[in-house]
Symmetry: D3
Subunit: 323 residues, 6 copies
């Protein structure tokens, strides 16, 4: 039987389904007895629930981030759907269909990573080639790099999204490096591939996409630099200035302090990386926003972060007229 | 029988009323069958509705922006009123009372436009007089100019609002041009009358006030300049610099780039136009905000855009005290 | 019987309880008859209510800011709890338990004010000592000063909060004045004690914490300066420049125009006052935010004003695992 | 003999003239002996000078702000004109022509103040009329109010400028109060006359226009409120709310925190005051900027604060052409 | 004999050379007689001069913007080079070497415009092809379009710079339109070619690069839209929505209001145009900045507008050491 | 013989002195021959110079950053002092008096570092104590840490300034950690000592204070994290979360993105670190600014970065009056 998603739940029905336990907090009733508030989610959204009975047993059964099999009755509370949870037991991750909980890239991950490797194999600069050999031969890294999303929301927010975003940028960077004379093609490409490498630890993406503690405390720029530092040590005699220029691309790729880069881009390659990153993220983000909109007007709803409506094309007026 | 307005609907009642079909989008149920989400409105607000049965027939019956006769049952869904729509048929615009759907100025439109014409007739500058002859003798333009609102929200957001706002500014501009020596009275007045002329195409205001595609893509400044360009061509030998100074007033009337003017005011007349526009819009906007507030405290609710409460006067304390 | 707080109300129950009448506004039904909208509150939150019958009598029974004994039926309207009020009568303030309506400092007020007085008694500067004698011997002032909260929201938002905040700053100011040579200890301490003195009139805090008319029209900086002016006149021969330096500390204590100070700090003492104030307010505000959060993750919810989550410490994972 | 102004000095000439001693600071030569740096000014500008000999005697002869008779030789130092001062003696202020040092309004001060008094005499509100009686019968105040400039730079920066600016605003305020219904004409006029009253102490304008210590520490808004407080106490039974509304106009007349007002305008009268003030200041400031420009192009030089060039009108091309 | 450039003039020498008369203003000596201040320029910079004798005759001989043959003596005044001008006569523009006064692109203009035409000939959209036929067959337009600079300062600030910038963007736009599916290649290319078309009238570039009156009053966005409007009228049945989308690209190409676009980009094509324009302008501007720097450190001087130093590469240490 | 400092040079004298060669760039005369521009400096300022003869030999003699013995003639060029350099030879750094070129802390460096070590020895947290053992036993690090300035300009911009600033903050942090309950004293102190540790590589301070290539490309936050990473690896079993919290303090110590921190402070300790850093930097920076001002008015000159004058105290009027 196919899963019943959060977006399909209606008040009045009985629920017997697996969800992710996204949040959990304890409350106390007037009589002093505890109850448990839970937030349950899958890839279509989230719903609140409450546990009134057998609170201690159920609270001990699962932690935030676990999958849970829930039996409940759906009702409404203050205008929102609310599940009164009768029972909730932990389900091992290998018994759920991960695709029900996390969106995944539609592209072929193996082909994408192969294409990136080919590009780094073709580099003219020996120490950069050696650096990528160090990255690609680290299986733990490659497993994470090919699985990580590029963001929690906004753009490429799905399993494999980081790789998809990076490859798109890599292809653009080769075109653009060819267009302007005097651009160090290998350095630009290296910066592109490494700019968001810290996202593999900034985010968690096993059962859901969210920030890790390390991600919130340090940000992916800082984490990525630490990862790069480690790999640089594995390449004998990596030239000091080249290492600094490569790190500079990671440091400055958000373009300005206001957007989280401690230093702005100070080389042509860093300047180009910043534009290519912004362009590719923006294009993907607008497209996903437009794709999600099913209204039949010419315009999307208002996009809060980008502060505008986007134009979807002239209306096809289906009304049959007065007659 | 008088119309039942959106603001008067209550859950549990049967609905048989005409509304505007403001938005419409298709969804799909779990079994793959389609349903239709609609937003219905009149001048008191809007309400969501859903069509479960005969979706294809009903969806084909009307387009966004049409008036529709709706038969429905009012219920609640996730804390909001929701209509379950049984039937919905298009109603020709000439069969509805437009006043139920759009607010209208309380001033006499004919007198207002006459007063503006008198002012332009008294201009000393022949080419400006000729320019306004071109505008006033364009019946399509006059029909739109006397009907357009000055905005979708915020100030003078009703039929005839553009004219009311413009006339108020014109009267102020004559006072102020008389107060400061060296101000070109005719140029200032011309700028006042033309500054928002693009609103007649930026907005639609047949059944409701909303932005047009052209309005969202180009803005009323750009549209107004194009309209002015066209009329300028009808005046033989309009002096080039005068044309540029007049266009400059339209270009700069928002005062700065931040507020949408590509250039800031660079002549005394353009500077004055900007202040007169801001003052008249702000005064109208605050008054309407205060008028709408029916609470009995000294202060209005918080005004989100202007970021403050406004003072309505000291409280008349009606409490009878402890005795 | 203990009070039933707003946070404990549930739809479907009958209510017979005392609340504060926070807001009140009149509406009209379709048939032209009036009804009354009310907002009722206590220290746990607020709830909307409506009076359908005997509107005139009930409306005459109490004003905004009064305590009222309410008999009502709790239901839901558009997804929120709503009380249908049957009756509402005014209750004299001396018959309610003030602590049910306003949070109070957990510190000993008498000890706190004594400690501040000791500090001003130890001042070396005769005219400053004389100034504080004038303040402390004004019983009306002291009563208000020891009772006022430091803010409506954000930090020290409870009875006695102003004193608690001020004393904490005073202790810090003595440490810091001792750390840097060349700081006028007495001037800094005087500035600390007086910087927020206008809050005793900016806010009302009898039945609830809210802004007064004077507070919204003038701000506590302006009110505090006026209070200081008055007391300065009671000290014979207070040196003119010293008076200006002391007022400057009040004027500039928000640090910049952007935060409401007409002038930025221009003396070392004013610079220090600004940092001590910001640090103490921020620390208190974060702690209260963290204390209120009962979820079991490592992070607080998002803090809208400070635009971040705060870290509460690593999760203690209670889940028993797969085994 | 007419005075030789700073703008007319040339290197190589001997100087024997009276200037204002604007700034003064001591330096030390390599051999340990002191020398004196001075800045001398009149209404056309300022020039640096240095005293090498008899430093102690000359330094003791005058303080900053004094008029001084200077005997010197004009030379150049690092590309700027520099006077090597042989002698410098203090000149009592009553022996210099004040007009050489400070620009003065071209309007008739007595007529201007009379016109303002007439306006306040016509007020309908008894307590406001009484308040202005208190102000106008304070001779010290009137003497300062009719002499003060409105600013150090930017607009109305000359003796009598405050009065000129205030009267222009008062006339505008009567027009505008008549244009919009529901505006309290007397309150608006009172706000206009008092909004900048603190400038009489914020600035000094005996020998030159500069900020006073009090002005820099407190700002004219704060000083003006203190002056208003004092006069309000002289009017028996001045209604409390009216006093707060009047003070609110002073507090908020800069329009927003960013421009130095601790609270933004929250009444129609305060909103109008802010626009009238901005409009009159801006018009005056642009006109003076245009008037000072003697170049023969169509545009003024770049105005740094307003960030634009202003248009002076099309060029009259005087070139005789190729023919 | 080769021209002696402004950058080569030294104090003490006699000057007999042609310059551009960039600015001119009249002054008066103490004795009431007039003198003339002039600013003379060529492509290497500008120098001030003064005419003491025969002022009326010389002032009548040339206007701002004329070339002038100058005989003068070079001296210094207040630390800057100053020419004392003995005589100055107008020189017809066809007698000077334009290249001495204006920098010119190093690329082949004919080839660049041919390449753009080829691109528009290959367009699939008939009405866009027709639109460009209208542009390319307007000889006056083509002459200006191939000659105009892209800016006064900052990037491509030389004769032919607009074409060079546009062609570079056109090539990039074809690559990028090919990279992302669903991009309207012809619309993007048309937007690229037309986005800065208003610069042909915003700037003058006959003898020097400067803003025209129209440019300062209206900005190149507004001028370009007016030019586009005119050409659109020459294409029969140009689809209305397509015209608005094309104009939208011109309107929005600066990306946000803050940078002078009344509306932000609301289609994928407009979003891409904005990034391509920013990237190409920035790359050109950095390269010219780096190219101009002749210091031998690793870094350029501080770039005021971009607020950073740029890295030129590691220093080649030429010092021979201690030995 | 004592050194003749840049601030003491006068036009017309012969120079025979050692300076730092701060900048160097090549130019070409009209005849095609090269000349050399140099900038020479010591701790009192810098002066431009030019080499006309024997350019190749002299250019080969020294690189930027070297000390040079210069023989020259001082003159003026375009209003500034300029040296015409006859000869310039490199001087080994050990032959100059470093104090002539770089300002040095007035505090005892050995005592300061000892005091810091005592503080870390008293830490209760074993892994933090171990971490500092790793830092203090690294002699290269300690040598740099005790010598580095805290900034190029602004505050503690002298040899030993970083240590002086850090120790002052450490003392404050102990007071403040004692004042607020629940603050992790050891974590706060560790954050204080390490927050600016990257400055030892961000800046060079051998012959002058300037940014290094690494400093400009990466910023001291990034460099410091890399240094911390390295030392953390030397402490066995340093708890992962503790490491992240410590790094978070370095990452967030500038308080917000706007000031260069990729993440804002998210723990009480990080919040306190930010305030203590700002307060100590600001106090030092204002004091140095006031100390440098020798004018005899009540106010310092305008401080461009802090955008205000600072008050130095009331004027002691030395003028003897009229009498």
């Amino acid at each position: 039987m196919s899963k019943r998603f959060v977006s399909e739940l209606v008040a009045g029905s009985a629920i017997d389904e697996v969800f992710l336990l996204a949040e959990r907090s304890m409350g106390h009733k007037k009589d002093g007895n505890p109850f448990l508030n839970v937030t349950l989610s899958d890839r279509t959204g989230q719903v609140k629930g409450v546990v009134w009975d057998q609170v201690a047993r159920i609270a001990g059964a699962a932690a935030e981030g676990d999958f849970v099999h829930v039996r409940a009755q759906a009702g409404e509370y203050r205008g929102n759907l609310q599940l009164v949870v009768k029972d909730m037991v932990r389900v091992p991750a290998d018994q759920v269909n991960a695709g029900d909980f996390l969106a995944v890239t539609t592209r072929d991950v193996a082909k994408m990573i192969d294409r990136l490797r080919e590009m780094t194999d073709r580099m003219q600069t020996p120490h950069l080639r050696a650096l990528f050999t160090a990255f690609w031969s680290d299986d733990t890294f490659v497993a994470a790099y090919t699985r990580a999303p590029a963001a929690k929301h906004m753009h490429h927010a799905y399993i494999g999204g980081l790789l998809e975003h990076t490859l798109s940028m890599a292809v653009l960077s080769e075109m653009i490096a060819g267009h302007y004379s005097g651009v160090d093609r290998d350095l630009l490409l290296a910066g592109v591939i490494l700019h968001d490498v810290g996202k593999v630890r900034e985010l968690e993406y096993v059962n859901r996409i969210d920030y890790t503690d390390e991600g919130r405390l340090l940000s992916h720029i800082i984490i990525g630099l630490s990862m790069l530092d480690e790999k640089l040590k594995q390449v004998p005699d990596f030239p000091e200035t080249q290492a600094q220029l490569l790190k500079h691309m990671v440091v400055s790729h958000h373009g300005s302090r206001e957007f989280g880069s401690p230093e702005p881009p100070k080389t042509i390659e860093a300047v180009l990386l910043n534009y290519i990153d912004e362009m590719d993220s923006r294009v993907n983000s607008i497209r996903e926003f437009v794709a999600k909109d099913t209204s039949d007007g010419s315009w999307t709803p208002y996009h809060r972060l980008l502060e505008r409506h986007f134009f979807k094309g002239p209306i096809q007026n289906e009304s049959s007229g007065d007659g």
